[in-house]
């Protein structure tokens, strides 16, 4: 069975979280690091926006500042996500794109990796399914959103899929920092966000699952879905240095966050 590296659950600011993803991606591309899975939390709580989004269209910047919520732009497309420190756990899967396990079809590759999350959720008592393009739903409600990119900064193309699993949902806080298009909501004929989105807490009848348990369940889920063995590891010194550089020059820089 293939062995991948797994990093322990970390908590970082948003720019560091995104910088670590790109640092690992770059090292895998260079052949210096193995395929890697990591889980992480966001402190301070933050909004991440997709590569193609306009920060002004998606984020209430003043509200973020007044509430101490950070803002970062991802290298993946997709929507604006509120990463609450207590409300969700985020994962990243970083793998060589030519790995035979990874389907070439984008939606199939989303489905494969999301199956890991589905197994993980099942492990803690929640039934969930994959909803193309890249959502995981429990019943009819979204419990996980995911996004991918494929990049070749060095020798090989590497796929990054990252996403969140909602542990607990504070709808009022989420919409106090995000701007949501009325057209998007009205298109689904739904007035209340609670009808579209759910959380682990809600699905388990108001039970909060601790982060270590969530992390362990996700790791077992990914191991099963991808038929891989996970070997506990840490960021290399080189990855840490590159992450510091990416944070300073890109993810923590206004030019990047406010480019659109």
């Amino acid at each position: 069975m293939d062995a991948w590296r797994v990093l322990d659950l970390q908590t970082n600011d948003c720019a560091t979280n995104m910088a670590i993803d790109e640092a690992i991606l770059t090292h895998i591309s260079e052949g210096k690091s193995p395929n890697t899975i990591r889980t992480y939390r966001w402190n301070p709580s933050a909004v991440s926006i997709g590569y193609f989004q306009s920060v002004y269209e998606e984020v209430d910047i003043e509200a973020c500042q007044s509430k101490g919520v950070d803002v970062v732009r991802r290298i993946t497309g997709g929507g604006a996500v509120y990463h609450d420190y207590d409300g969700e756990i985020t994962y990243s899967v970083l793998v060589r794109d030519n790995d035979p396990k990874i389907p070439k079809d984008i939606i199939e590759s989303y489905q494969l990796i999301c199956q890991g999350i589905i197994y993980g959720l099942k492990d803690i008592g929640i039934d969930a399914t994959f909803k193309p393009i890249n959502d995981i739903i429990s019943g009819t409600k979204k419990i996980s959103g995911n996004a991918q990119t494929r990049r070749k900064p060095k020798k090989e193309t590497v796929m990054l899929q990252h996403g969140t699993i909602l542990r607990d949902l504070d709808v009022k806080k989420m919409f106090s920092v995000l701007r949501v298009s009325k057209e998007k909501i009205s298109d689904k004929l739904i007035e209340q966000v609670e009808q579209r989105v759910t959380s682990i807490r809600r699905e388990l009848g108001d039970t909060l699952v601790d982060f270590e348990t969530l992390k362990d369940a996700l790791e077992r889920g990914f191991s099963k879905a991808l038929s891989i063995q996970l070997e506990r590891g840490t960021l290399t010194e080189s990855e840490k240095e590159l992450a510091v550089k990416f944070k300073a020059e890109k993810y923590g820089a206004k030019d990047w966050v406010f480019k659109r």
């Binding site: 057209e183 298109d187 659109r260």
Partner: protein, 95 residues
């Protein structure tokens, strides 16, 4: 003159455009597509936008530019299609 439009693609994602034209509304001066769609490689959005800057504002020209862009087999789009990009641009230009 700056115009905007947005579209929730049925079964897909939200697509927006902000387009700036010259005073006579004969050419696109600046353009930005935003939204929660996916494009691979991501940086190609700038290629699309740059190819539309300076373009004559007529539907056939704009359709040709957008179609040619998406005919590049290296480019993949999820959550919106070439027709959605054209549709939203025309909607914005019509004011």
């Amino acid at each position: 003159m700056k115009n905007k439009a947005e579209k929730k693609v049925p079964g897909g994602k939200l697509l927006r455009v902000t387009v700036e034209t010259d005073e006579r509304m004969s050419k696109i001066v600046n353009i930005m597509f935003t939204g929660d769609f996916y494009m691979h490689p991501e940086e190609e959005i700038h290629t699309l936008e740059n190819s539309l800057k300076g373009a004559q504002i007529d539907e056939i020209t704009l359709q040709e530019i957008i179609t040619n862009f998406f005919e590049n087999e290296m480019i993949q789009i999820l959550g919106a299609g070439p027709e959605d990009f054209l549709d939203i641009l025309i909607t914005a230009l019509r004011g």
